[in-house]
Symmetry: C2
Subunit: 204 residues, 2 copies
Amino acid sequence: MAKGNVFVVTAPSGAGKTTLVAALLAADQNVQLSISFTTRAPRAGEVNGKDYHFVERAQFESMINAGELLEHAEVYGNYYGTSQTWINQVIENGRDILLEIDWQGAQQVRRLFPDSIGLFVLPPSVDVLETRLRNRGKDSEEIIARRMAAAREEISHVDEFDYVIVNEHIDEAVRDIVSIVRAERLKLPRQSARHVDLIASLKG
Amino acid sequence: MAKGNVFVVTAPSGAGKTTLVAALLAADQNVQLSISFTTRAPRAGEVNGKDYHFVERAQFESMINAGELLEHAEVYGNYYGTSQTWINQVIENGRDILLEIDWQGAQQVRRLFPDSIGLFVLPPSVDVLETRLRNRGKDSEEIIARRMAAAREEISHVDEFDYVIVNEHIDEAVRDIVSIVRAERLKLPRQSARHVDLIASLKG
């Protein structure tokens, strides 16, 4: 069994990351979004193991203490976090995991999964970025400026990633991300593991 | 200007490499097959700079002496060879070059183009390989056995390549090779060169 890959997708707000990831997940049944663990109660319609892994506070704290969380945060009294153990189970079964996280989370994932593959999504221009950040609502100039500063900080880490997608035309950008995920599965180490019997028989 | 990539595609006879490469060239206008230099006369319909670079014997020999050929051979009194200088010109213009060569040629290309990307195409089984080698004509068992031995020798070098495509279903294999070529263009070094101004302006 060839292990799955861990993909990290990072982008500034306004780069179109969420749309891109949704299109990838629709196009490729072998890659799945990382599912967070949380202690908050499920909302109407939320499914355990699909939207979140819903767990008790005591269980979450034992996961923290066991050091099995990639990252975690407490928001309004509820814990949220990503389990390294769970990701390992998924990739051991040959499926790919995708995490949508910021550059700090990406650094953490790289430490724990050195073979993970980092993708960074860029907007096609400063003007487009600013327009997209403005369109989010009727915000003050100060808030827009803060968002631009946050975007610039995110972008300053682009060189830490393996692939860069410039999201100018969404159709092309979707083909880009789908191609990267497909190509990564075809690399020698993964194919050698998947086709170990075939290769042995062909070598004769 | 981002430099183009050099792709090397290697396979045993019977793996379907030629069909796969033809489909890639049809699907992707930015990749082109390496064009050999030769001293033989053009045949009817052959176009200089498309089928071959047709050159005089003296010019070919000066290319040999200048050490600018990746490889060359003399067949029936005519020279054939691949020019490193010509490949460099093509990739400097941002186009990708693809070479269809055997494992020995691939080793030579890797020495001269350390960033080149190696793809190996495998048949889906020993039976399929043997069937394909038999179907080439009404050959003796001895000739078939010699072809199988040559195929096995080629396959013994699979671990020297970056990507492995198992050509079981041609449509899937075409998507594989197209994805690899597309993904390689999205790697950080190439995107950083292509989008140097964009990235500088986004970093602010």
